[in-house]
């Protein structure tokens, strides 16, 4: 019997189960206590674990993330929550110059098992400073891992795996996914960090996505199926390390690649997905130019219609796939 819970509850369940088992795990962030977090993810947790383990911090993103790094060097397993992923700009030094590099700079003689959870993405009308998708920055930083689950099931399994990981993991949630429901077993399970999943099989085109827009890809695939086009959808789930093998396998089968990403198109992670394909032997397996469906190269505007205009959508994915299949040019024309 399926046990449907929300993405929010799945994240909470993973934290709760980890904290029950391991006293060194704790959650620290702004308003994570009685308020339950800006998006209610930790609601109820302070009642179970007390304010020493579900810790309301002052507005000091660099300070408390640094503190978490310190606890991790001392053998603890902190979970830091950054209230909106846009505010991660405040702790870039701690994440990039400290957490990501301490182990390497110390010649491998230290571990920094930190999980930093944060909700990314747009679609809430919160405008340019509360809607960004900046995960690409961290993919570009060796020493960090970047996880971005799209389903409640993956959220729980990946969060538990991230908490086991001896490395710093940036764990991207999405505001518009928090209410999404899905089947989630109550017992603990892990989904390995770094493994993509083929969420829909198909022969005609490979659509690679992650996070919220993975659902756009699936919706688009369903619609395209009505037109006789069977898309294979890959949910990356982890962005770093990137599971190139799964993408490769699919692209070599379909010969066509569309990447769907919510972040700004220019220098987004879709470019990395594409580059890994085209700079390898798989290049010769492509029979169409690959395509990206991404956020426009703009900040996120406030007005609903403007916001929708610049964001990826199932319709834009459908259009991109259609366009790609239509192309009758180049070597195959």
């Amino acid at each position: 019997m399926p046990r449907d819970i929300t993405y929010r509850e799945a994240v909470r369940e993973a934290m709760t189960q980890a904290m029950r088992e391991d006293d060194s795990v704790f959650l620290m962030g702004e308003d994570v206590g009685v308020y339950g977090g800006a998006f209610g993810v930790s609601r109820g947790m302070i009642e179970e674990f007390g304010e020493e383990r579900v810790v309301d911090t002052p507005l000091s993103e660099a300070g408390f993330v640094g503190l978490c790094i310190g606890t991790s060097l001392m053998g603890m397993r902190p979970i830091a929550e950054i209230q909106f992923s846009d505010f991660i700009t405040h702790c870039m030094d701690q994440l990039v110059n400290q957490a990501a590099k301490l182990r390497y700079m110390f010649g491998g003689e230290a571990e920094v098992p930190l999980v930093l959870r944060t909700p990314g993405g747009a679609g809430t009308g919160a405008a340019a400073q509360h809607s960004q998708s900046l995960e690409d920055w961290f993919i570009h930083v060796p020493g960090l891992k970047v996880v971005m689950p799209s389903t409640p099931y993956d959220a729980k399994g990946l969060l538990l795996a991230s908490l086991d990981d001896p490395n710093p993991v940036i764990f991207y949630e999405h505001k518009l996914l928090y209410n999404k429901k899905g089947d989630v077993p109550e017992e603990q399970y892990r989904i390995p960090v770094g493994e993509a999943r083929i969420s829909r099989e198909g022969e005609d085109v490979t659509v690679v996505a992650a996070g919220l827009v993975h659902h756009h890809a699936l919706e688009a695939a369903d619609a395209l199926s009505g037109e006789g086009v069977e898309a294979e959808v890959v949910d990356l789930r982890t962005l770093s390390p990137m599971d190139h093998e799964t993408v490769r396998g699919s692209v070599e089968k379909t010969g066509k690649l569309v990447v769907v990403e919510e972040d700004v198109k220019t220098a987004g992670w879709g470019a990395e997905v594409i580059s890994r394909i085209v700079e390898s032997e798989s290049f010769y397996a492509l029979d169409r130019a690959p395509a990206r469906v991404a956020g426009a190269d703009t900040p996120i505007p406030y007005n609903k219609n403007l916001e929708a205009f610049i964001r990826p959508s199932p319709e834009k994915v459908i259009e991109a796939v259609r366009k790609l299949l239509d192309v009758k040019v180049g070597v195959y024309s």
């Binding site: 702004e30 308003d31 206590g33 009685v34 308020y35 339950g36 800006a38 309301d56 911090t57 002052p58 507005l59 000091s60 993103e61 660099a62 300070g63 846009d86 505010f87 405040h90 809430t124 009308g125 919160a126 405008a127 340019a128 400073q129 509360h130 426009a296 190269d297 703009t298 900040p299 505007p301 406030y302 007005n303 609903k304 219609n305 403007l306 916001e307 929708a308 205009f309 610049i310």
Partner: protein, 314 residues
């Protein structure tokens, strides 16, 4: 300083944010907003101490500052409704209302985000030899951020004409100042930077006005920055979604008894500057003005979707 006009400003701010709160509750506005209700004496008290050419920076809770600074209610309402005629042509919304040319350097969705900017305005004034002042509004939450340290120090060592106004409304979202600080006042931080610090009753417009005037005067004369801590309270939730779990109803009621508008109105009545119950009429007028603004705004055209691609670069 026309006291009645100041009362009207406060009433306008309150009516505006009560209206916005209502619209959110009805699901009629997109995004989120933060309400200034309860804190009106700070914005109006401080800004009434300014002169033509002075500038301000604001925060996520910025409607009060904008109205006190003289921004147009119609264009503010239009912005909240995402209209092309809004201050940001629908691109900014509540948290980014600005009128840079007029000297309102912007609300800011990042806590502490405009503290450096205010110093920059002060720097420009000093460099040009203009006797002008930049007022930097921020909350108790911003005092917890790193940039507070950097900005206050820069302003202090360079004697920048900046007045730092900390609105200590007791909470940063759910974080109470009692647990966020280990000191009784926040103005006590000032001495560590070598600048004057003063704590004032933020529910008293006249007291706020007085300390702000002194600070502005000092800054204008080249005497450098001041840190003002105005003790105040936000009556409503932090933003549209707030169950108020971190405070009690009683606490809110206690603070409401010290309401800055009622307080100022009765002061004016005592002084004979206001007829008895005249402020109820003014309140009514303010509400009408706000209703009218939102009605007009709702009839304004939406921006073209394609306009989303404009204004990224100049």
């Amino acid at each position: 300083m026309n006291h009645k006009e100041l009362l009207e400003k406060m009433l306008l701010i309150r009516a505006f944010d009560e209206k916005v709160n209502e619209l959110y509750a009805e699901g009629k506005v997109h995004g989120t907003a933060h309400f200034y209700v309860g804190q009106e004496a700070v914005a109006v008290g401080v800004i009434s101490a300014l002169r033509e050419g002075d500038v301000i920076t604001s925060t996520h809770r910025g409607h009060g500052h904008a109205i006190a600074f003289g921004l147009d209610i119609d264009r503010m309402a239009a912005e909240l409704l995402g209209k092309a005629s809004g201050y940001c042509h629908g691109k900014g919304g509540s948290m980014h209302i600005a009128d840079v040319k007029a000297g309102m350097l912007g609300a800011n969705g990042i806590v502490g985000g405009s503290m450096g900017i205010a110093c920059g305005a002060g720097w420009a004034f000093r460099r040009r030899g203009e006797e002008k002042v930049a007022v930097c509004f921020f909350g108790d939450g911003a005092v917890q951020e790193g940039i507070f340290n950097e900005a206050l120090n820069l302003a202090a060592i360079w004697d920048l004409p900046v007045v730092f106004v900390c609105e200590n409304n007791q909470y940063a979202m759910s974080k109470s100042v009692k647990t966020a600080f280990d000191t009784d006042t926040l103005s006590g931080r000032a001495s560590g930077y070598g600048m004057p610090g003063v704590t004032v009753d933020g529910m008293s417009l006249l007291e706020v006005h007085e300390v702000a005037s002194e600070a502005a005067e000092l800054a204008r004369r080249g005497g450098g920055p001041t840190l003002i801590e105005a003790i105040t309270y936000r009556y409503l939730g932090h933003s549209k979604s707030d169950a108020n779990l971190y405070r009690t109803r009683e606490e809110i009621q206690q603070w409401r008894k010290r309401d800055p508008i009622a307080h100022f109105a009765s002061e004016l009545e005592k002084r004979g500057e206001l007829q008895k119950d005249e402020w109820r009429e003014l309140e009514h007028a303010a509400r009408e003005r706000i209703e009218e603004a939102f009605e007009k705004a709702s009839e304004q055209p939406e921006p073209e979707p394609e306009s989303a691609l404009e204004d990224v670069y100049a």
